[in-house]
């Protein structure tokens, strides 16, 4: 009787674990929208930086980035709300990822402040790549292992940007495409029209 009880309990636990894995998979697929959102916003920001730099409208670069960050926060919040409505729960792993990216966003803001204090001598884009790499590294462990490739690419990109600051924008555009836009589009195409 004890053995039957134990087997039944184990069966229940396995069922719960399978359900949790399924929910985590769903959350990961929905989270692609956040990745695409930030990918496009940062691309827009980089394009704007190049344009305003050429026109010598330096103050507008800061204003533009603040607007982009604000839009990202606003739309990101709306997407997160939609994800939790669709999946019906927020997992512990999901909360860890949220905490990590919130911390990274605070670091990016500090990076901008320090860049302003040091009058541009704070290798802005290299340190941004370094911080984003940390986010992907932890996310690779908590959710999708593939993010480890993104982490390594960002850290390598950070070194290249540190060595050759003149090509930093091109390196960053490449990183955004390879680690955010292309994987996001692939996942979107794969699940288009299918019930997740």
């Amino acid at each position: 009787m004890d053995k039957i009880d134990a087997e039944r309990s184990l069966g229940e636990i396995r069922k719960h674990l399978r359900e949790t894995e399924e929910e985590l998979r769903k959350t990961g697929i929905y989270a692609i929208d956040i990745q695409l959102l930030w990918g496009f916003l940062v691309l827009l920001g980089l394009g704007m930086t190049v344009l305003f730099d050429k026109l010598a409208w330096y103050k507008l670069i800061w204003i533009g980035w603040i607007c982009i960050m604000f839009s990202g926060w606003l739309f990101g919040y709306r997407i997160s709300k939609r994800i939790s409505e669709a999946t019906g729960f927020t997992s512990f792993a999901g909360r860890i990822v949220k905490a990590v990216w919130l911390g990274i966003t605070i670091c990016l803001t500090l990076n901008m402040i320090i860049g302003w204090f040091s009058r541009g001598r704070a290798f802005s884009l290299a340190s941004i790549a370094m911080f984003v790499g940390i986010g992907f590294f932890v996310e690779a462990f908590v959710s999708w292992k593939e993010f480890l490739i993104a982490a390594v690419l960002y850290w390598l990109g950070a070194i290249i940007v540190g060595l050759y600051p003149k090509i930093s924008i091109f390196v960053f555009v490449f990183l955004i495409f390879v680690t955010m836009i292309i994987p996001g589009i692939i996942v979107k195409i794969r699940f288009r029209g299918k019930e997740i």
Binding site: D5, C107, L110, S118, R121, M130, I134, F137, G162, P165
Partner: protein, 194 residues
């Protein structure tokens, strides 16, 4: 019968949760060992840094930090091994904490590397960037450990980073102050409380 089975299952779950809480408490106590170790090592490093700066033997600054970091990694490994022998478990939370510190450690190495190779980086900002990185690790850790004392640490390091960027000439002293406030004192408090 169904009801008594359910009651038994609930009792089992409660027992497991209690054990998990005990393990988490033990993990927090064990974490204090790392905090003390790294706190003391970084303080020694800052002391040596200031000494070598005054003696104008700049190469020794890098050598000193490499030696201290090597000692820190070796002793951390031994503490981890000892803790595993005592508890017999490695929790998901402790694994995430290791990953966080590993990634911020890589970030710290990149900052130091940039100071040597990047023409666009002011080496006086090294402590400010290291403080940002320590802040993010403590921020995630405070969320994972649900430890109130730790949740004050990350904002302190981030405010400290701005102060260090504004006054880079005094950044080593600010850094030492933050180590004492957020590493040494909380660790001693936990040790004294037992």
């Amino acid at each position: 019968m169904e009801r008594s089975e359910a009651k038994k299952s609930i009792e089992d779950i409660k027992k497991m949760l209690k054990e998990t809480k005990e393990e988490a408490k033990l993990a927090r106590r064990n974490y204090v060992d790392y905090q003390l170790l790294w706190g003391i090592l970084v303080l020694v490093g800052i002391g040596l840094n200031i000494l070598f700066l005054n003696l104008r033997v700049f190469t020794w600054i890098t050598i000193g930090w490499f030696l201290l970091m090597g000692i820190g990694i070796f002793l951390s490994y031994r503490i981890g091994k000892r803790q595993f022998r005592e508890t017999g478990i490695t929790t998901f939370v402790s694994k995430v904490i290791v990953k966080i510190w590993l990634s911020t450690g890589i970030g710290m190495m990149l900052v130091v590397l940039f100071a040597y190779v990047s023409p666009a980086f002011n080496p006086a900002l090294i402590p400010a960037f290291l403080a940002i990185l320590v802040g993010i690790a403590l921020f995630v850790e405070s969320f994972l450990c649900s430890w109130i004392l730790l949740s004050f640490a990350a904002p302190l390091w981030w405010v400290g980073a701005i102060v260090m960027a504004v006054y880079p000439e005094n950044s080593l002293y600010f850094y030492a102050g933050l180590i004492v406030l957020t590493y040494i004192i909380p660790a001693i408090l936990v040790k004294v409380k037992g």
